[in-house]
Subunit: 323 residues, 2 copies
């Protein structure tokens, strides 16, 4: 394996570019604002230009690089083509082709949630495991599925869309995806706030810190639950019941070794993990009840670290075989 690799994590507001030894040492990270009003090609050529400058500034050469891994917020096929990124205003974009032509270094592309899962497997909460599901609890609920150390993309790039597992038949409001009763409607930051508002409305007699708090956000709900606020505890219990149910279903499909829980909401894991694991055990198929739960440990770095891992031979293997 060659000694260096770049990892690029493209997000809606910023792009992070990391330079690492392929041994695993990330020794330089740059963050640039996500350009707006650029064509996808110019956008990617801009990133390529930054990479060229960093190679030059370090006195390195493209031949020193095993590859460049890129995480993008949209579905990616096994050829490195992205099929639409709502956040970036992209249609179909051949990320791999454009960047390889610009840089002369092999490029591997993955969906950002899947790439973050790979990062957590390599150096984070999932270290030592080969089969894991990463759950990202943020504004939405994202996921990444790793089987036998490889990302599972799925036919349409929608493997790991665990925020859209159907967990309730009774939902009357639509999810962002247009379906009703998706996990994301309950276990995301937005979902937790929505449940809190519903419970406050339904129980006008209930005293709760949540009535005084402004703004009513997921952090306030978790903080109040930590202080023993009963209504907040019910909100947390309801959210984790749905998440536990969803993870129990994932175990019926692929029976992973571990669930790695990350994302902003998971910062309150002291409050969330106990009801989550209780709910999981309640719904799980008997032989899968003891699946491990771990906290994600890489935070915002998971995307860059996973993107670096994406360049390595053992991560590429499955993709090549699939063709």
């Amino acid at each position: 394996m060659k000694p260096y690799a770049f990892g690029v994590d493209i997000g809606g507001t910023s792009i992070k570019i990391g330079l690492a030894k392929t041994s695993g040492w990330l020794f330089e990270t740059r963050k640039i604002g996500t350009p707006i009003d650029l064509s996808a090609e110019s956008f990617l050529l801009n990133i390529s230009e930054v990479i060229k400058q960093r190679i030059h500034a370090r006195g390195l050469h493209p031949d020193d690089f095993e590859g460049i891994g890129v995480g993008v917020p949209g579905p990616v096929d096994e050829k490195g083509v992205v099929h639409g990124c709502a956040n970036l205003g992209w249609g179909e974009v051949d990320v791999k082709g454009i960047m390889e032509r610009a840089l002369g270094i092999p490029v591997q592309v993955g969906n950002d949630a899947n790439v973050a899962a790979l990062g957590e497997m390599w150096q984070g909460g999932g270290k030592g495991y080969a089969n894991l599901v990463m759950v990202t609890l943020g504004t939405g609920v994202g996921g990444g599925v790793i089987i036998n150390r490889h990302i599972v993309c799925g036919q349409y790039g929608s493997a790991g869309e665990i925020g859209h597992l159907h967990v309730s038949d009774d939902e009357t409001e639509p999810c962002g995806c247009s379906n009703y009763g998706c996990l994301e409607q309950y276990a995301s930051a937005t979902g937790i706030v929505r449940t809190a508002a519903r419970l406050l409305d339904a129980h006008p007699e209930a005293n709760s810190i949540l009535r005084q708090g402004t703004p009513l956000d997921a952090k306030l709900v978790c903080d109040s639950a930590r202080e023993g606020d009963e209504l907040a505890l019910s909100v947390v219990e309801a959210a984790m019941d749905q998440l536990g149910k969803a993870l129990a279903m994932i175990s019926c499909v692929i029976d992973p070794e571990v669930y790695v829980i990350g994302g902003g909401v998971s910062l309150a894991s002291d409050v969330l993990m106990p009801p989550l694991q209780r709910a999981y055990k309640r719904y799980a198929f008997p032989s899968s009840r003891d699946t491990a739960f771990k906290k994600a440990t890489l935070g915002n770095q998971a995307g860059i670290i996973g993107a670096i891992k994406l360049t390595m031979p053992d991560a590429k293997e499955n993709k090549e075989k699939i063709k």
Copy 2:
């Protein structure tokens, strides 16, 4: 690859042993009754004896064999050890070790539902696909998950236990697994009969062929639905709604290329497939709505054919890597 392989499909009432060319031609199948009151070891030595006789009778030699694939009705780990088979009264049994010592031929072991999925991928309804989920609608609901042409076993051997996906929060009777609201409680032959009995009770005013039929079984329900019986149509619609919901959830996890539907109940696929595909589209994440649905075509042979496939290098690969 060596020219011959055996496939063994161990079931609760019979054991099927197939002798094939590794090119894919199954040219001899024997069926023997499943012995009762034998230790697992004697049971497997009996099977090994039959295999030895067949090798001798054909004028062949153990060295002519690529391997022996064995499907068993229980969870199997990647070392070929079975962890309990309720139907056979087995605890932990080293099927691979026992048979390899007896025969001097490499043995590969898999769960019967997973092995059947592999068979359907190789020569059946899933031919030409690399990522598929097989659904077996019988007395229960079984499943097998194939990603990148390899069986997914899971940590505890419970990958593909799709009959135990939680699809209803309102169930009051327990499933065989002890949970409440499992897919199997609605979409299996037993589940279809249960729903029919419930609907007949709830609608005493409804005229239905099902009231006259004896016995009330899944075939009668499907036959009556085919003739336009309204109550039977509601039963079929309810069962396929739950199945479609469950498959939509599987797509959120692994997004397979195709669902292959088999098992006794699926003989009525003319009646079942249209409502199943409608329900699937209703629940599926938008980008996965066009996943293909195929009928299984190998019937009772899927287990033997998959067991033969299990011996081949491309099917073994993942198992070796995982160790």
